[in-house]
Each structure stands twice: as structure tokens, then as C-alpha cells.
Symmetry: C2
């Protein structure tokens, strides 16, 4: 492949470094994909690839070379970079010579289309990227329809969200609201049964009522869901905690709730 070679002082390289550092606003939801696995995910999900950076000297597999050629076909612009420049823009140790700037798809509350039976996860203040990403991977597994973010504390473009989601952040629809009141309004207009997951209730998730459209609200790792939710007549549900600890990991609890909802709503 005959690509333009660029170095560390090129504006495109500086932009990748800025994205990795996450120091500037990122309204386009750009993120940095590194390595073979991530690039397979970009290709499979038909993601917009704004720029591709290829370092053949750092590629250790034939598959990486094949993938590089496919990415060049798909990316809006492609460059060749040295191993030194690669080390500057990559966070992973061996990204197989492949780094791209890609764009997460954007959905909005007005354009999202929900089926008659719909399962929504509301993530209220989840702050650990690995937890948010794992939840998105599980949402894909049980065909949850939509992730709603509120009181967002971690960005979806975080590399750990991407990795933990197994790339599913590229395909699971996500919308974001500024406040619990806005989420509640939207859920109400769309006829959702809302279940608040809460360690301090006695209503087991096994005996809860799941509506044709069900939204499960998961709160922050330490503090649970925001107190504003108490203003609404939503049912709290919980998982039995039968041992010594008082909680499960939030991505574990979310998965048990979502798979139960999926089974009870039909479809598993």
C-alpha cells in the first residue's frame, strides 16, 4: 500500500494523542481503536473510520496485514507511521501496527425506534469504564434495546468501555439525558414499567412484574441510584444477598436483572 508517511508533529497524530488523553470536548464521539481485535470490530459493525494509521513494521501477523488493506478501503484517510510514532499514539503494548480514529454511532431520543416489547437499561452514574462496557456486552447478549445514560461519569469513548463491551458499544443504541426528570418523562411517554434496583428493598427480582416495555435502573457503584428516582412511583427490586457481602459488582447485578427480564418478557 502506498500511503503518505506522517510523523509525531502532524496534526492528525496530535489529535490522536488528545483523544487518548481525553482532555478536550469530544462532541463527535471519536475514539481510538488499537489492534487486530478492535479493527475486526470496526469492520464488522460498519463503523465510520475517520483516520487509519498503519505501521507495517509493528505488525506480527498476516491477518493484521489483510485487515490493514481492508481498513484502508474503508477509512476516510490513511497514513503510514513509524514504530516510534506508533508508540506515541498507542496505549496498548502491541497493537499489531493498527490504530484508527473511529466514531461511535449517535442516537437521539427523538429518532430511536423501539419495538412493542422493549428492554431498556438506565445507567445512572456508573463510573467504572469496565463496568459500563461489560453491561453493554451483556445488553447485546440478551438483546436489550437501548442504553440510557444519566448523571454520566464515564464516557462511552473510553478505551476500557470499548474493550469490555467487546466492541458492542458500536451497535447497542445509547441515548443520554441531563437529568432523572428527563429520563422519567421519556420513559413515561413511552409506556415503560420502571424497576429500580436497590439493595435495601425486599422485593426479589424473581417475583417482580415485568412489563411489555421494561426499564431497569442501575445506580452508581458506591451510592446506588440518585435520590430523585424516589419522587416517582417506581418499584424497587433486589437480588438476594445470602452471604457476608452486601452487594454484587454492578455489571453482575445488571446482567442477572436483564437476563431475568428477558426470560420473563419472552425471548429466551
Amino acid at each position: 500500500m502506498d500511503l503518505q508517511q506522517i510523523g509525531a508533529s502532524h496534526p492528525r497524530i496530535k489529535r490522536v494523542v488528545d483523544l487518548q488523553r481525553n482532555t478536550k470536548p469530544n462532541p463527535e464521539k471519536l475514539f481510538v481503536a488499537e489492534g487486530l481485535w478492535a479493527h475486526n470490530a470496526l469492520l464488522e459493525a460498519d463503523t465510520r473510520i475517520e483516520a487509519f494509521f498503519w505501521c507495517p513494521e509493528a505488525s506480527y501477523s498476516n491477518e493484521a496485514k489483510v485487515r490493514a488493506a481492508q481498513i484502508v478501503e474503508r477509512a476516510e484517510r490513511s497514513y503510514r507511521i513509524s514504530e516510534k510514532t506508533l508508540a506515541r499514539i498507542a496505549e496498548r503494548e502491541k497493537p499489531d501496527g493498527l490504530v484508527s480514529v473511529a466514531q461511535l454511532p449517535r442516537w437521539t431520543p427523538d429518532t430511536i425506534e423501539l419495538p412493542e416489547s422493549a428492554l431498556v437499561l438506565v445507567a445512572d452514574g456508573i463510573e467504572i469504564p469496565g463496568n459500563l462496557g461489560t453491561l453493554v456486552r451483556t445488553m447485546d447478549g440478551c438483546a436489550a434495546d437501548l442504553l440510557v445514560l444519566v448523571n454520566r461519569r464515564t464516557r462511552l469513548t473510553h478505551p476500557k468501555v470499548f474493550r469490555a463491551s467487546h466492541g458492542m458499544v458500536l451497535t447497542v443504541p445509547t441515548i443520554e439525558f441531563e437529568s432523572v426528570a428527563e429520563v422519567a418523562g421519556w420513559l413515561s411517554r413511552n409506556d415503560f414499567t420502571v424497576l429500580l434496583t436497590d439493595a435495601n428493598t425486599h422485593q426479589s427480582y424473581r417475583s417482580a412484574t415485568y412489563g411489555r416495555r421494561t426499564a431497569i435502573v442501575l445506580g452508581n457503584e458506591r451510592y446506588g441510584f440518585s435520590k430523585e428516582w424516589r419522587d416517582y412511583p417506581y418499584s424497587p427490586i433486589t437480588l438476594p444477598m445470602l452471604g457476608r457481602a452486601d452487594s454484587l459488582n454492578v455489571s453482575i447485578a445488571g446482567a442477572i436483572f436483564m437476563y431475568e427480564a428477558r426470560a420473563r418478557m419472552g425471548g429466551s
Copy 2:
């Protein structure tokens, strides 16, 4: 507190460094606990503390000072260390001045006592410490009785296992076998119904039969369970994968299986 001050060349300090590096055999199952949270877990679980290292200059909370005094009461020996020595033995950035060498409890197949209705998780070749730890935390949550390790690829004394388990690795009983044949023999002698979790089957976990004693076998993150399990007439079960990805995170899948088993066996 009037403790003996020791420095980086003291054999006890060298031993902590060796444990952190995990370069030597560790038949006593010693591990390094760092920080306030970990020390709370040691105290709560009544864990044997072989040695405690206290650096009051690096302690940022009154709670840490209170805890230090309690640990000195409990530990077999306690030392005072400088901030420099603390930096040498701690892996965490701010361990609040608290580091201990403690011992995981040891159980054996001969001495473990199982109730009439028992839930066992068999972890076959799980290799990511965070996954193993998260599984142990979930086992505590659903009151699973025993973790059985086979083809072990990560050690229970790994700091990430301890952290992800929320300290539950101190209280959830664990035994280890050298081979699948040995596990199968033990499960058979103890009247277990064995369910092999397998992405390539069609038997849903929702319609599986759970025995009064149920063992759930979870395989390696990439390769699944070892092929030796195919030699036994055990039922495969699976979770519906309704989206694009072909698998869930192993600690997520394990949690859904275990909570389903718990509900079906009674108790939630």
C-alpha cells in the same frame, strides 16, 4: 504504638517483595493485603495475619490509625516502616500506610462439609484474576457452597483476585484438583448433578434440571471447558445469545447460571 522499625533490607520486607512478584512457590497461600479496605476485610473474616507493616506518615485517615491498632493486636508480628519502604512493598498508590502479609484459609476435599442441598462452581482454567475474583464475590452473594479449581491458571492469592472478590476469597471455601477425572470422581461420590456451560449447545439454563446438589462447570475465557469433560454423561447448558457477540464475559455468565441455580434449588 511502639513498633520495631525495619528497612528495605530486612528479610520480612524482602519476603513481601517476593510475594508481590509471585516468583517463588507459595504453599502456605500467603498474600499481600494493602490499604484500609483490605484490612477491614482481614479483620472481618478473622484471617491469620502473619505480619503487619505500618507507616503512620502515609496514613491519611483517622480510620486507618484505628485499624492499625486493631491489626497490631491481631497480627503475629508488627513493624514500623518508612514511606520509602512502603513504596517498595506496595503495589497500590495510596495504601493508607497499611500493608500486611496474610494467609488464605485452606480447605481439602476430605474435610469440606457440604449441606444436603449444595451449589458448587467448578472453575476449569479461568485465567483472568478479575474474573475469578468476581465469581467468588458472586458465590458469596448467592451462598454457593464451594469453589472447585481445576487446570488452574491464576492463583487465588493474586491481588486482583482478592480485590475483585471484595475479600470473599477469605471466606468462600475452595478446593483444588489436579485433573478433570479427579473432579468428576469427587462430584460423583458426592451425588452432584453436573451442568457443563457451553456456548455450543441449545439447552437453555432456564429449562435445565437442577439437582439437590448441583455443580456448574465454567471453562476458560477463550477455549471453554477442557475436552475431558466430554467423557462424562453431563448435561450441557447455555445462555441465549440473542445479539451479535458470541459470548458473555465468563464472570457474567457464571453469575446468571449460579443465581438461576440458587432460585431453582430454593433459597432466593
